[in-house]
Symmetry: D3
Amino acid sequence: MKNHDTLETGRALSEQFNPGMEATLEARYGHLLPGMAQSTVDFVYGQQYARPGLSLRDRYLATIAALTAQGGQTRPQLQINIAAGLKAGLSRREIAEVIWQMALYGGLPAAINALNSALEVFGSHDDGER
Amino acid sequence: MKNHDTLETGRALSEQFNPGMEATLEARYGHLLPGMAQSTVDFVYGQQYARPGLSLRDRYLATIAALTAQGGQTRPQLQINIAAGLKAGLSRREIAEVIWQMALYGGLPAAINALNSALEVFGSHDDGER
Amino acid sequence: MKNHDTLETGRALSEQFNPGMEATLEARYGHLLPGMAQSTVDFVYGQQYARPGLSLRDRYLATIAALTAQGGQTRPQLQINIAAGLKAGLSRREIAEVIWQMALYGGLPAAINALNSALEVFGSHDDGER
Amino acid sequence: MKNHDTLETGRALSEQFNPGMEATLEARYGHLLPGMAQSTVDFVYGQQYARPGLSLRDRYLATIAALTAQGGQTRPQLQINIAAGLKAGLSRREIAEVIWQMALYGGLPAAINALNSALEVFGSHDDGER
Amino acid sequence: MKNHDTLETGRALSEQFNPGMEATLEARYGHLLPGMAQSTVDFVYGQQYARPGLSLRDRYLATIAALTAQGGQTRPQLQINIAAGLKAGLSRREIAEVIWQMALYGGLPAAINALNSALEVFGSHDDGER
Amino acid sequence: MKNHDTLETGRALSEQFNPGMEATLEARYGHLLPGMAQSTVDFVYGQQYARPGLSLRDRYLATIAALTAQGGQTRPQLQINIAAGLKAGLSRREIAEVIWQMALYGGLPAAINALNSALEVFGSHDDGER
């Protein structure tokens, strides 16, 4: 029965950080890949992000670091995770710092490209605090 | 004068987390690359890890995430950073969690390989569970 | 004389799956890189895709898998190979499945980005069967 | 209830292609990452490889292609999947062909390194040519 | 005092090959990452490109090779370095050749994408010699 | 008839920089991949390295840069190309410089790992400093 719980847990967490994600995935990919939306919610949110042992804030910090170091080909996902990281308690400064630090591991171009992605997200969240 | 400070700051930090690193780099690579050891300490520690705005613990978390997602080709550096992350306050559990989460971004093989690297570091630090 | 044959074999195969490719490469890059168009047709189609031992359908399946796992930076080539894979006998469902499976090896973002590329190709091939 | 089934399905498939995998993961990583072994079996085998729409033989072909194109850092996983691909019906020739084709996408060094990995697997399976 | 010199050296070199770069970085990222523009000029130009032992022309050749082999995700940086490479004495032909050679190491798609980036730069520098 | 020439040209060049390569590839992989050794010599040496427009010395410089930036998974090929680069006229210092510069694009760990590979090659070529 455990896995039934991971799907439900994943749904609750996913709705909190990416509202409507499962429905969007189902509408976009469901005709080609039945069950893919449910699998994503279950594994990503229910079996990974919902794990105890590391805070959600730290998990988003790690994800932003990884997507930056992998280079700009994951721009849409990087931006989704930056927005989610802000919700999870990361400050803009912390996000900018972790991206810039990735110059050491993914190279300067990857860091600069990711900073540009972050600036776009910050621009569209311009509701006060920097 | 700022940069003189970044070199000194970098040296202090580097000695704390990787004792002897500058001397090792100099001994190993200095005959081929004069100044490379100093540059590394200055840029990596003095101009990156020493920056305010993100804690050292968080910086090591991010580095471990990135090196994992990039795949196992950076094993020695991953292990150095796992050891430094333990010093900076990360628990073994947190390190294992962030590595496993990278299955989502760098793929399952990269995560498994990095877990094996972590186990080796943990084994050689077996001085009481954290 | 063998290689003369690989160029001719490559031309025949290339015309079948990417009509006009050699001429397009020559027109676009020939002034800078004399012979590059011919080299590409010879090596890619004549010396690789035309090899016995694996069907063309399987070769396109493998290419789609690899380009997906490498991340979205190869979008134009991924789309060309998805279109060629349909010609070689792959179904849309098989293409979607192999892309989604790559979440395990190239990460979720790479798989999602590639699915979006596939949807665009499928949309422009909307002549009946899904 | 669906997910309960994916775990059971995954276990059956995993035991067929990698006997003892869940137990090995649990023994090796369970103390650091409770539930990780179960998650892997559930997601990798139950929610990915067990999907209809693409044969297991084709799935292993795609995995071998992807791990080759990503470079040699996933050698252990590449070898596990080559062995599983043989069980799923791929011939040695087909495996060699798909690896060599990856020279076009992951570069020559990645293809050569993967061929070496395959030779090791073939050597340890030397119970009559396929 | 050495590092003070690397910053000044870096500034002189940076102004020669990317006029206005430090000011642009400061204006764009300085509010989020104080000192980042200065660090970039210091490390990239002062502590790397300004090193003796390899000519600037060769350094740009190497950078173009690396950014090509890493795939198209670094397009803006690739184009900046192609333009700088022309200033440092590389011919268009040499740039095209090195990019095309990278088909061997980064795969054909990466080489083709980089050639397209180069054509765009060459088009906007169309002041005579090819 | 052109391609017949590329194979012969490739053989001459290959024998000069990697004596015995075609025979080694044939002996090692020929039973699985008939014609692969010949294809490699033809494409790599005959259709790429033998192209006019860029010197062999520059081509090896570019290759060393690219293999470094891609990370340590291509160690054997990196070492083969460092040895060939020495034959083509690169100095040890130039090779070390270009590897170290790659810290900017492939990250510090990739550069350090490649320096270690170079030291091994230099150690086994210790017949008078260059």
